[in-house]
């Protein structure tokens, strides 16, 4: 498997304002790569640098071994792009937009285009200004997919789409992946990334916080443990155990909530010293991990993920 996108030490600032700082990651050919981050984290800046709309201050970015700035025209011939804020000529119909971009790109399979339009249930006879925001998004998606590009760069692709079309989009991405083509997408829909992407990068305040496979991230040993005892148990009994990040007494003092990184062995052994009524451990969802990386490092409660699914209950 060859590297499709290779970003190394990429930095971009807008005058005094931060853009992205020393970003390094790779996307292999054939994978679906999710780019997660809160608003203003630098996702769109990174994507626009990859599309040669912005020029990085330092660092390198290459697509299929080509420099994204120097060889942008060659790169654009095999890339499909959907910007975060889609703007197209408001007086053109959907059909005219596809014809125009089809002519500028060349090699559009009309049958495939019709299939895409049917799948996303778009009326191509209407003018762009007359489309709802969801339908405008569909126009953007179709123009990105219609030339069967080797690489799709999609900035928040499902924003504004209804659940049915989000599902359809998921299927379209799966087909691209099955074809051995590559997708880089940014999203706020974590469940979508969890279902669609094979690897994820989390970006915060312009810096890459974490990159890894979706399963790899989910396997991070971050657990929320809630234990109820028949007697009052002091938090100190658990506070200094290895891996315990945070302890909290709930209700009448019989229930403790712990946030634990790594294995639960020490916690289970310590709990066994007291009369346990219930013991639950919540496995982190991707969303929990996402929130953990986004949350301010100043407050402990902010670091505490909310329970999603109870995986082990005693």
């Amino acid at each position: 498997m060859s590297t499709m996108i290779e970003v190394a030490g990429l930095t971009k600032s807008y005058g005094n304002k931060r853009g992205i700082i020393d970003l390094t990651f790779q996307v292999e050919e054939g994978e679906v790569f999710g780019f997660l981050g809160p608003n203003g984290a630098g996702k769109t800046t990174t994507i626009r640098i990859l599309m040669a709309l912005l020029r990085a201050n330092t660092g390198t970015a290459r697509i299929a071994g080509k420099d994204v700035w120097e060889e942008s025209v060659a790169i654009h011939s095999f890339v499909g792009y959907l910007p975060g804020e889609l703007a197209l000529d408001p007086d053109l119909t959907g059909g005219q937009i596809f014809e125009y971009f089809g002519n500028l790109r060349g090699g559009i399979d009309q049958t495939f285009l019709k299939q895409l339009i049917a799948r996303l249930d778009l009326d191509p006879t209407r003018k762009f200004r007359q489309y709802s925001s969801g339908n405008k998004r569909k126009v953007g998606l179709i123009q990105a997919f219609m030339h069967k590009p080797r690489l799709l760069i999609l900035d928040e692709p499902t924003s504004g789409l209804d659940p049915l079309n989000q599902q359809e989009f998921g299927r379209m991405v799966s087909e691209v992946r099955a074809d051995g083509r590559t997708v880089l997408l940014s999203s706020h829909f974590l469940s979508e990334v969890e279902q669609t992407c094979s690897r994820v990068a989390i970006i915060r305040e312009g810096r890459l916080v974490r990159t890894g496979g979706v399963t790899e991230l989910k396997d991070m040993k971050l657990h929320e443990v809630v234990m109820t005892f028949s007697v009052v148990v002091p938090t100190e009994a658990f506070a200094h155990l290895p891996g315990v990040d945070h302890t909290e007494t709930l209700g009448d003092g019989h229930t403790l909530r712990l946030t634990v990184s790594g294995g639960l062995d020490a916690v289970v052994k310590a709990a066994a010293s007291y009369p346990v009524v219930t013991f639950s451990s919540n496995e982190p969802s991707l969303e929990d991990i996402f929130l953990r990386f986004y949350a301010s490092e100043s407050g402990p409660s902010a670091n505490t993920p909310k329970p999603k699914a109870v995986s082990h209950v005693v």
Partner: protein, 549 residues
Amino acid sequence: MWFKNIFVKTLRDSRIAIFGWGGGLGLMMYAVLVAVASLTSTPEARQTLISLAQSYAFLAEPVRVDTPGGYATWKYGFTILIMAIWPLLVGSRMLRGEEDRGSLDVLLSLPRGRTQVALQKLAAMWTALLAMGALIGLFTYAGGIKAQANYGLVGAMLFSLNLVLFCGIFGGIALLISQFTQRAGTAAGATGGLLFFFIMLDMLHRVISGTEWISRLSPVYYYNLSKPLIPSYGANPGALFVLFALATIISGIAIWLFDHRDVGDAIMLPRWLRLPERQMTPDQALAPHSWSMRSIYLRGLAKVIAPTVWWTIGIAGFAGWMIIIVKQTESKLAELLQSTPTLANLIGNVGGGNAETNATMLSFFFIILPLLLMAFAIAQASRWGADEENGLQELLLATPQPRWIVLLARYGALATATVFIGVLTLVATALAASSSGIALNGGNLVAATLSMIPLGALVASLGYLLSGWLRTAIDTGILSFLLVAWFFITFVGPELSFPTLALRLSALYYYGTPLLNGLPLVNTLGILVVAIVALVLATVRFAQRDIGR
């Protein structure tokens, strides 16, 4: 303070326009009032002026044109009505523009009724118009004092009030039309067309007798019934009331319609008033095979076609009309020039020859042509920058098209439009000269019409170049200022004995007087070279910089 409510916020948005339009038109009034003395210095000159004004009576009714107030009223009879352009732009954008941007949804989510929102915006427009009127009135009063006119501050203020009421009507019309259109630009264009139509309608009764009843359908007719700068004529309270009532009723209907329609939607016209809609099946929509979709150049051309047609009608029409007017009034103009050395000097200096010949007169008027073409180029070049700010370049640059091709294709479309206007102007002037029997050197006529093309190209190149660093509004503002400065240097510079170095700062200097003296080849090539250099720099800049929004 400026964000206290919708009224002051909207007024704040108009602050530059108030000083620009009010100050600009006020200065224009001041200048024309001060110039009257030189036109009426001798009894002969006075008589000739009266006689000449009679010849142009179709433009505006000449009343006491030998007085400062009478001359200013006649001279700017309909020219000053260009102030209506501002309220018609504001009226068309007042609600529809905000709907286009989607900002009206947020505004209407506030605990304020629709009518209140619309009324506050309308009140801001009227306040801005009154502020402009106050400035114009003050300048008119000051000009009157300088020219020892026989009207006072009340007369000057009534003059501007008459103008404000007239302009308010067109703000109301634009607001009303915008309730029926999906785009603010469509409403502005239609209102502009109506303004032109109403001016023509008013002229009708001065050209064809017995048609006054038709002219009464035009607001311009009621505007012209008041001439407060001529004390013996005065203001017509009834006409002022008609203007006020029209503005109020039209605006009231517009706001009522706005209150009763869906936001983001337009009121459906009756079927017989609607343009036929072309029904398309999805299959047809997917293979439209439009010529304009084949390349960036053709798409650019399609976008510039409509404005090009209108500007061509304006520029070519103006050139042809000037030829006919000069021919028709040549004897009276000759008398006026003989008795008014100041005017003869001005025409001679700008026109480039003996002011008593038709060619010199035409040469004087023809300097307006490149000016108009450059104004067209500024308007179109600003769309290049606006497209980027609106995000329209984003997807285009994601296609395998080099940036330099994207820029040059769009520039090429604009250049094609300027060539089209130049050629059509040549055709119109040749036909006008032939039909009116005026003898013009064919080669010089070709030079006069086609040599304005490089000037249009120059301004377009500068616009593209500046857009590499500046926001569209600033870019357009700088170019517009440059155009006004060039106009001033060319028209006033020679009279004020500006040094040649200063005159050379104006691009119009290099246009020369081709109708009289043929093509100034070196100057024209010089302009072309500067335009090309600016375009190359613009291309290099565009290829290197970040694409913004």
